[in-house]
Every structure is written in structure tokens, then in C-alpha cells.
């Protein structure tokens, strides 16, 4: 808040540009970009086409060539982890990505921040996974685009530029993994995709943005309070694979079939995105077979409360985590324990 950087900025009144060129020539930040694919890497046959494109076409190194302005403030390196649509991201990729960033944090202290390009469909899940597993306070920024790289008025180039700015900003340290699209900085925990096509798709519902990547500077108004990154207890170095956790969806007359099917196919955890009477019965039976059940909700915001009696029976509540985020946390929790009170503690803290 009263750090040297902002004090310095105040002294050089109004002349942001002067300051930028000063600090930048003095010390550019080192940013490493890891590409995973998605719409931001997508190619459509024609610039007006906002659908019908191929996700994960361009390698990340090609995207970076089209945003040369980042060299004003950052030295950027990159690597390709995978190049797919976000629907194809799986536990193997998550572990590879997180392990890679953790390794670089250890071995290359000169890297100041990380950017991950990602498809938007499941971006929030990868972001939350990194929020829970990166053992560093260095900025980790996940970025995507709603329009393919080839689109006219594509949002990808500015989003990528802003993501590198946010990763370079000293103010971004210690704030957990960050989602940056549309000039807005969301916490990885609460940020969620809320629209199928619009560029302002990511928001944190009632918890709002942490800050902005505005034309003049990166600015924060909030910091997240739940445990994340350098405060996490999840060390995935030795985790070979993530446990199979699935989500069932509740609705009027929701049948128990989906629960029974998951039990039969070997799920060790089930997240209930709301329930029906039949689903509840099936979940109770699953629980008695040793499957961990977490009650979440399909509504999009608000907490699910637990009770002593329900916890005694083994049911865990997801706090205000969306079902897809509760799934990530349960996967990580199950790598450590299957004790319900312990898992509930984890859901209360992260």
C-alpha cells in the first residue's frame, strides 16, 4: 500500500509514461508464459467468425509475436504445455502444469511472474487448481479470450498484454492465482465464466473484482482472504494422479441414475450441484460405501451450510464454492485424507 513503487510514482506526478520508461529501462520483469490452447489460440476461416473456429491452433510463441509491446516492460519467455480446447484439460495436464511452475519457481528465481493461456470453458478450474498448488507468492495469471485470435476486434491480444502486465506488477504478489480478461482481475477462487460469448464473461458474482488492468496502470482494491498459493497445504510433487471426483446435477424429479452410474464407475467423490429426493437417497447409500459426498449448489452464488448431524453422517458442505471448484478442492483433499471433519476443515479454509 505504502510501498516504494507507489511512492515513487507519486513523486513523478502525472508523468506515468516518464516513470514507466524510467523503471522499465532500469529493470524489466521476467515473465514466463505457458500455453495450453483455447480460443485465444483459436483460428477461424474468416475474421468475422466468432464461432466455428479451431481452438488451440496457434502455439503460444506465435501469439506473443503479435504483442511485441510487452517488451517495453517485460522479458518474456514461453513454452507449450499442450494445445487443446479447455474441455480436454484433465488431471494429468493440471499436475504437469502446476509441477512445472513450482519447479521453475524453485530453479529460476529470476522469473517474476507466470502467465498461462487457456480456453475459457474450464479456465476457472485450472486457475483454482493453481491457486491451491503453486507454492509461491509470485503472480500466476490465467488468461483466455472469448473471440478466436483471428477475429476482428479480438479480445485475445489485449487480454494477453494485460495478463503480462498483471504478472509484472509487484502489487499482484501474494494475491493468489489471478484470472485476467477484459481489463478485469478476478481471484481464481471466485472468478467464474458467466456468459457463453461476451467478453466480460468472467466475474466473481457478489465478491467482485480484485482490481483492474486499466490503460494507465494495474490497480487493486481487494485482496482475497481464503488460503491460497504460498499458504496452501497441498504439495502435489509426489501426486501421480488425481482421484476420480464427479458432479451430479439436481433438478425436479432428478433420478438417482447418475449417482448409481458414478458409483459403479469408481468415483471416490461426488459433488452434488443441488439435489432431488432420489438423488439424496442415492448419495446417502454412496456415502455408506465410503464415497465422499459434498453438498454444493447450482445457483451460482451463496454458501451451503453444514450441520453437526450432517457432518457426523459424513456429508461435507462446499461453502460458497461452485460445484466445479468444489470438485478440484475435493480431489486435492482426497490426496491427503478421507476423514469428513478434516475435509470440512479444508472446505472452510480454502
Amino acid at each position: 500500500m505504502l510501498n516504494l513503487f507507489s511512492n515513487l510514482r507519486r513523486l513523478v506526478l502525472g508523468s506515468f509514461i516518464l516513470l514507466s520508461s524510467m523503471t522499465m529501462s532500469a529493470s524489466k520483469s521476467n515473465i514466463h508464459v505457458l500455453g495450453t490452447g483455447g480460443t485465444i489460440s483459436g483460428a477461424a476461416p474468416s475474421p468475422e467468425m466468432l464461432s466455428g473456429y479451431e481452438s488451440g491452433t496457434f502455439p503460444v510463441v506465435e501469439l506473443l509475436k503479435e504483442v511485441p509491446e510487452v517488451s517495453d516492460f517485460a522479458r518474456v519467455t514461453s513454452e507449450q504445455i499442450i494445445n487443446v480446447g479447455s474441455g480436454s484439460i484433465n488431471g494429468e495436464v493440471l499436475l504437469k502444469l502446476a509441477n512445472r511452475i513450482n519447479k521453475l519457481c524453485k530453479e529460476k528465481p529470476e522469473i517474476d511472474g507466470y502467465v498461462v493461456t487457456h480456453g475459457t470453458g474450464t479456465l476457472e478450474e485450472t486457475a483454482y487448481f493453481l491457486n491451491l498448488t503453486i507454492l509461491s507468492d509470485k503472480p500466476v495469471v490465467i488468461v483466455g479470450a472469448m473471440r478466436p485470435w483471428t477475429a476482428t476486434s479480438g479480445d485475445g491480444p489485449l487480454n494477453l498484454y494485460n495478463a503480462i502486465r498483471v504478472a509484472s506488477a509487484p502489487e499482484s504478489r501474494g494475491k493468489g492465482a489471478l484470472i485476467v480478461l477484459n481489463d478485469e482481475i478476478n481471484s481464481a477462487r471466485d472468478g467464474t465464466k458467466t456468459d457463453t460469448y461476451r467478453v466480460e464473461t468472467f466475474n466473481s458474482r457478489e465478491y467482485g473484482f480484485l482490481g483492474y488492468a486499466d490503460p494507465d496502470k494495474v490497480v487493486y482494491y481487494r485482496k482475497p482472504l481464503k488460503r491460497h498459493t504460498f499458504q496452501t497445504e497441498f504439495d502435489i510433487t509426489d501426486v501421480v494422479s488425481l482421484p476420480k471426483v464427479d458432479i451430479v446435477y439436481g433438478y425436479q424429479e432428478g433420478s438417482r441414475g447418475s449417482v448409481d452410474g458414478l458409483v459403479a464407475s469408481g468415483s471416490v467423490g461426488i459433488i452434488a450441484a443441488s439435489r432431488s429426493p432420489d438423488i439424496s437417497v442415492a448419495l446417502e447409500e454412496a456415502q455408506r460405501k465410503g464415497i465422499t459426498v459434498v453438498r454444493s449448489d447450482r445457483k451460482g452464488q451463496g454458501r451451503v451450510l453444514n450441520s453437526e448431524s450432517r457432518l457426523k453422517e459424513g456429508t461435507i458442505s462446499s461453502d460458497n464454492l461452485r460445484p466445479q471448484k468444489a470438485r478440484i478442492l475435493l480431489q486435492l483433499a482426497l490426496t491427503k485424507t478421507s476423514e469428513p471433519t478434516e475435509i470440512q476443515r479444508i472446505f472452510n479454509q480454502y
Partner: protein
């Protein structure tokens, strides 16, 4: 903190049980200062939800509407003033801040709750956010329906406000606005609806936390300077400068600005279109006013987003108001000028830090 949260989960949904638990440990003391507003208002019938003029409750009567609050905190209540929020003044703000500052020194006091009318609640909240020199919770609460109304929101809002003020998690978060089970920061929290109970929001930046049936939960902390981190000391201030707010719109004339400058306004906040925009006529009027020593701040009428200094603002003599709403920028400017900080460079720093 951790073990307490786990404990709370065990006791759900029995807030009452938790209350009893803390009663054994000695209840936290919360000082309640009543200032009036809809929460303390009476309507003629229980269907009266606007134009209620049947008098006001004393703060002790509000507590009597929800006596269970005494199980979660020991209350020390006082009717500080009993007015509608349009009648609030900087002098009352100052005496409120002084009272809180002096009371906060008492080690037996855990936190504060202020009742307030909702219309200017956010202004009082931001003033206190900038001038209260304690990290103890200061919670401002109001209601959208008079406390005589059917489904009145006031009693639960009041109960929740006391919960927040008594909560250790609420410390060091600046002044808080608590209504509708939601906790907003005083800096961004703003009334967004004339009658609905979810009126207070922080737009883009969201809530700091919630008061759910199982207790108080914070997910965010504000990062701008506030309360005990603030440089503003009301005890050094003898009078407040006149600061006015001027709206911009298509083809707005400049005469309002010229008039306010001649009427003694030391500062004028522009509620600009877009990112702090003024009409050409307003721009000319600002040029004259600022060259005569009036301080002008550019804010936005859009309700969210920052105002960044532009070459046109420099030409007009305007200082960028960041993302403060115009009526909040007015409070910050008022305190800055009253504290003798009217240099352009100082004001730019202040609007960047608070």
C-alpha cells in the same frame, strides 16, 4: 480463528448456541450509537413503507425489537442524534468520529454499531472510514423499511451488524456497511436501489463478506488506506470547506460551476459523463474556476470504473478521482482541504492512496 470456524460449523445452524458459548466466555461489548433514519422510523400502519412520518424509535426500542441481540453482545447504547440522513452534516460526522476515537481507547470495547438513514449512509461511512483511528470494527447499519413495517428488514440488519461488530474477523477491515446479510466496504458500498432490501452494493468490487446463519464470513479485505492507516485527524480540523458536486450531461452549461465558485465553494467535484468528461462549456468554466484557486476533481456518473488523468483534464485544471463516486470524492476532498493539503501534487497522492 481456524478452530473457531470449525466450531461454528459444528454448531450450525444454532447461532443461539454459539451465543451461549460466548456468553460463558464473557460477551464482547459493542457500543451502539443511534443516529436515526428509516431503521428508527415509525409508519402509521404496518403497510406504510414510504412517506413514514409517525416519529422515531429510540435506539433502546430498536434493541427491544430483537432482544436476542443481548445474547451475542453486551450493548452500550446511546441515541447520539435522531435525524433523517439528508440532515447529516460534517459537524455531526466530526463529533461521531471523535466519540468513536475516544471510546475505542477503552480496552473493554470490541466494536461499534451506528444506525443511519440509508440515503447518505455511505457518505458518513466513508467519512468515518477516513477518520476513525482504530482497527476495531465500526459497522453502519440502516433499513429500507421502517421498523413498524410488515417484513421490516431493520431488526435483522441490526442483529447482523452487532454480530459483525463483535466479530474478531471484522477488525482491520475499515468501516463496514452491513445490511441484507451482506458486508460492504465503506469506500465502495453504495445505495443502488430506492426501496429494495439489497440496496447496498460495491458494484464491480463486490462484498467483503456475508453474515450467514452460521456466522460472519469474510472473503476479501480492502487494500486502500483506511481508519488507523489514515493521515486524517479530525481533532485538528476546526471547520470544513464547502465542496459541491456538479453533474455533466450533453450540452451542459458552465454557469453552475461559475456560480458555485463565486458562492464560496473551495472544491467542485464533477460527476462527469464517461471517464470524467465535461462539456466544452463546463471545461471553460473549470479552467477559470481552477485558475482562481478552486480545486476540481473529475469523477464519473457511470457508477463504476476509474477516472484516469487525461490531457483535457490537465487543460481544465481537473484532478482524477480514481473510482470514487462523486459524493465520496467530495468527502475525501473535504478532509484533504480541511487538513491543509490542497496542493495539486498532494491531492493526486491522496486520491491514489485512499
Amino acid at each position: 480463528m481456524i478452530s473457531k470456524k470449525v466450531l461454528q460449523v459444528f454448531l450450525i445452524p444454532s447461532v443461539v448456541l454459539i451465543s451461549f458459548a460466548s456468553a460463558y466466555a464473557g460477551l464482547p461489548k459493542v457500543v451502539v450509537l443511534g443516529t436515526g433514519g428509516t431503521i428508527q422510523s415509525k409508519g402509521d400502519t404496518r403497510m406504510t413503507r414510504y412517506d413514514y412520518r409517525a416519529g422515531r424509535f429510540d435506539i433502546s426500542e430498536i434493541i427491544d425489537l430483537i432482544p436476542q441481540v443481548k445474547k451475542i453482545a453486551e450493548l452500550e447504547a446511546e441515541q447520539f442524534t435522531n435525524i433523517g440522513s439528508p440532515s447529516m452534516t460534517p459537524d455531526i460526522w466530526k463529533s461521531l468520529a471523535e466519540r468513536i476515537n475516544e471510546t475505542a481507547l477503552r480496552s473493554d470495547v470490541s466494536g461499534f454499531v451506528l444506525t443511519h438513514g440509508t440515503n447518505t449512509l455511505e457518505e458518513t461511512a466513508y467519512f468515518l472510514h477516513l477518520t476513525v483511528q482504530t482497527d476495531k470494527p465500526v459497522v453502519i447499519v440502516g433499513a429500507q423499511r421502517p421498523s413498524t413495517s410488515i417484513s421490516a428488514d431493520g431488526p435483522m440488519n441490526f442483529y447482523n451488524a452487532v454480530q459483525v461488530a463483535a466479530s474478531p474477523e471484522a477488525r482491520d477491515k475499515g468501516v463496514l456497511i452491513c445490511m441484507n446479510q451482506q458486508i460492504n466496504s465503506a469506500r465502495e458500498g453504495t445505495k443502488t436501489s430506492a426501496y429494495k432490501v439489497e440496496a447496498f452494493q460495491s458494484r464491480d468490487l463486490g462484498l467483503l463478506g456475508v453474515v450467514d446463519p452460521d456466522g460472519v464470513h469474510f472473503l476479501r479485505a480492502p487494500v486502500r488506506r483506511h481508519t488507523y492507516l489514515s493521515e486524517f485527524d479530525v481533532s485538528d480540523i476546526s471547520s470544513f470547506p464547502r465542496i459541491d458536486v456538479v453533474p455533466s450531461f450533453a450540452d451542459a452549461a458552465g454557469d453552475l460551476i461559475t456560480f458555485l465558485a463565486s458562492a464560496g465553494a473551495e472544491g467542485i467535484v464533477l460527476a462527469g459523463h464517461g471517464a470524467g468528461g465535461a462539456s466544452p462549456a463546463q471545461g471553460e468554466a473549470f479552467k477559470t474556476a481552477t485558475s482562481n484557486g478552486v480545486i476540481a476533481i473529475a469523477c464519473s456518473r457511470t457508477g463504476s470504473g476509474r477516472v484516469i488523468e487525461s490531457s483535457r483534464m490537465l487543460e481544465y485544471g481537473l484532478i482524477a478521482g480514481d473510482n470514487l463516486l462523486p459524493h465520496k470524492a467530495r468527502i475525501l476532498l473535504m478532509l484533504a482541504i480541511a487538513s491543509g493539503k490542497s496542493e495539486r501534487s498532494e491531492l493526486i497522492r491522496i486520491f491514489d492512496q485512499y
